[in-house]
Symmetry: C2
Subunit: 206 residues, 2 copies
């Protein structure tokens, strides 16, 4: 990355501000003026970059998709085993617990809102769920669970969405931790028995 | 109920229409005019019944709360055992699968939207989750699981919310059924062993 690229462009600043506002207030509630105010831009300058709120939405979804891809890539790289990677996913709920309690899951709440609006971008927003689903399926595949990998991916994704929804409704941090612990315990039951060559202490599947 | 009460009043028709519109389009997106149009009322007649959209929201939440209470009471009455009652709850996802795939869960999506709007009614909307939570806790209590009854209630509520969120994003009916089957299988593991007096075939806890 060159030095020039480290300073965000006006366009990038608009998309970042819209990303935050869409998450914190919702897409429908956020006006053009709200976003322009957040980046201290005149309407004219703003319109130079984006003509419609839908154009901004498309850019926000693209930004979130890029960030999701980077995050998944970092988990793939940093965690040694598929179970460790799946734990990274579950622990995201604990790491982001403050925002989740206040605003819910950014992916789930945007998808839900766009579905109600019958918005043409709902499929694109759903693609971010798709990125998580694909990555989770890969981990379950690598655990030797190819036959059920997609069902397991959807199950874990659903568990995480449910936790976010109730954490948002009840503002209960202990609940998040308890449910993530349940997921961690469940993941431990999926570890395949160690082969005869490597013989670490074997985890029981209960 | 008297004969006169079977014909909905204008006020009731407004609240029913708002209930549907808030669910299908969202609270923020639904205007006063949309609701007045849905019940073919003039603005003047409409304002006679409700001065603000927040007043309508309060009435919609009260309506949903009443309906929830009736539904929970009918499950309590119609299902013979706590596990059967808990199954009624899980099967609600299958019964309502068409609406859920299109609009999500009415309780979860309203709570999520009001949280983002930082709306004063968010606590009242959350009370409907509270009704489910209390009822589920009662069933787990009656299963002899008093110590964990509330955690189990929250767990099951979260599972149902996650299923609704992903069914809404992916429009996948088979996924709903598969996850409800998983819940049913899980519930079967919670059945206490039969005492010596009554000895039906015992369910294994796996």
């Amino acid at each position: 990355m060159s030095a020039a690229e480290t300073v965000p462009s006006t366009r990038e600043r608009i998309v970042e501000a819209a990303d935050t506002l869409f998450y914190q207030r919702g897409f429908e509630k956020t006006s053009f003026a709200d976003i322009a105010d957040a980046v201290s831009l005149s309407r004219g300058n703003f319109y130079y970059h984006f003509r419609t709120k839908d154009d901004i939405l498309a850019a926000v979804i693209a930004l979130r998709s890029d960030r999701t891809q980077s995050m998944l890539a970092s988990w793939t790289q940093d965690a040694a085993t598929p179970v460790d990677r799946l734990r990274c996913f579950a622990e995201m709920l604990v790491r982001n617990r403050h925002d989740i309690q206040r605003y819910g899951c950014p992916v789930g709440t945007l998808c839900a809102e766009l579905a109600k609006l019958d918005h043409p971008a709902q499929g694109d927003a759903g693609m971010i769920f798709g990125q998580f689903r694909d990555w989770l399926r890969t981990q379950f595949n690598e655990l030797g669970l190819a036959q059920h990998a997609d069902a397991l991916a959807m199950h874990l994704l659903a568990r995480s969405q449910g936790i976010a929804a109730l954490a948002n409704a009840f503002h209960d941090e202990a609940f998040i931790q308890r449910e993530v612990d349940l997921i961690t315990a469940w993941l431990a039951t999926l570890v395949p028995p160690a082969g005869p060559a490597q013989r670490p202490r074997r985890k029981t599947a209960s």
